[in-house]
Amino acid sequence: MPKPILTIKNLTKTYGENVIFQHLDLTVNEGDTIVIIGPSGTGKSTLLRCVNLLTRPNDGQIWLDDMEITAKGTDEDQVRQHIGMVFQNFLLFNHLTALGNVKLGLTRVKKMSDEAATKKAMHELARVGLADRANHYPGQLSGGQQQRVGIARALAMDPRIMLFDEPTSALDPELIGEVLEVMRQLSLDGMTMLVVTHEMGFAREVADRIVFMEKGYIVEEGSPDEMFNHPKFPRTREFLWKITELYGKKEKDAE
């Protein structure tokens, strides 16, 4: 029996007259990797920010395990500890080394001793293959390495779920692979993941379910096989065809 970790019900987000998404329902079960795809401006990133309470939805509910995190009086900082977030632009702390970036949440939020935090942080950096870069500052790392530090920083908090907001969109093509490989391994290790990405190869190979969002609605969701080979809606087929062709062309160009 699958156990839901994240349950989104009837979620609506608007900015003034502008409706970002409406009446959205989504469930992420323990150990699942869900990939959200769709054109720009369809509210995918906003959805992730709502889940992490970085933005407040206007209506609807979100549960993390059995706790409604959209309820009034919820301790946001408490909730965010259990939700790892990886940003498109990494958002590493520029004045801290890779190690310092991963340690900050451990010492200041989890109140771990410096020694224990260092040990845990080094473990997470090793997990993303960057133990030898621990004392480098973000400005001394490549984009791919910075993003892997971003992943290690989120993992160090032992989150219930990891959110990825277009984690490879700001990277040079040759740096995308190392980040996707870390994410693939994470998924294999059983981490629960909600990923917004345009990397169709990753979606096809790693996702348990793919969700196609457009204009604030979930058009269709299903397994990679259903979505890529037997999509129910012409719009899904059209989008996947376009994006696969586009990225296939980019790969060819890169060769």
Binding site: N52, L54, E76, D77, Q78, R80, Q81, M85, F87, N89, L91, L92, F93, N94, H95, L104, G105, R108, V109, Y137, P138, G139, Q140, R153, A154, M157
Partner: protein, 214 residues
């Protein structure tokens, strides 16, 4: 009176010049930083009040404020000329320093704050451990400019009779009738103070720079 005595008479005012600066600059920094934090993170009303504070204190000539504090206000609280001068310069400087720190906070904030909150840090923690350490670094170059201005503005307290460099130059110039030498000596001492301070801050800026590849 030989040349050495002449110079050392003027230079003995340095202790007051440095004293005024060492009160005005740090008090301005303390107040300016607190007000900047309120300005940036305190909501709309606080921002409006801070904006008013900044506009008022930047809009009055420092010497007018000096006179108000010394001749009008200090009668009730028995403030010495030295303290009245130092504190009014500190007030003026706090308005400028608030703008410096505010600019630095704003250019770090936003994304860095969001990254910190996403890890689970509270708002104050995020400001304390992520925004401030970076803002301080950004603030050093404009702050060094402000430090130079405060050192030079400290000469205004001569008008209250505080025996600092300019006041001493004026006195000895008048008694010896060697005005050019007196004021040139004062100019050189001020210049050396400003030059040394900006050099030191420049070194601090380099020392604190965050390492990155070119």
């Amino acid at each position: 009176m030989d040349f050495g005595q002449f110079i050392s008479y003027i230079a003995s005012g340095t202790i007051y010049t440095v004293g005024v600066t060492l009160i005005a600059l740090p008090s301005g920094l303390l107040i300016g930083t607190m007000l900047a934090l309120l300005y940036v993170y305190g909501g709309k009303t606080a921002a409006r009040v801070m904006n008013l504070y900044s506009t008022i204190f930047r809009g009055i000539p420092p010497i007018v404020l000096l006179f108000i504090l010394f001749f009008a206000v200090s009668k009730g609280i028995n403030l010495s000329a030295f303290w009245a001068g130092s504190l009014s310069l500190g007030m003026v400087s706090s308005a400028y320093q608030m703008e410096i720190v505010r600019g630095a906070l704003l250019s770090v904030s936003g994304d860095q704050l969001m990254g910190a909150r996403a890890v689970g840090l509270g708002r104050l923690q995020a400001i304390r451990y992520v925004v401030l350490p970076q803002a301080v670094r950004l603030a050093i170059p404009p702050w060094s400019n402000e430090a130079a201005i405060v050192i030079k503005d400290s000469s205004l307290v001569y008008a209250l009779g505080v025996p600092e460099i300019l006041r001493k130059a004026q006195l000895i110039g008048a008694s010896s009738q060697r005005y050019l030498l007196a004021y040139l000596s004062a100019a050189v001492i001020y210049f050396l103070l400003v030059f040394a301070t900006t050099k030191l801050l420049n070194m601090l800026e380099k020392k604190l720079a965050i390492p990155s590849n070119p």
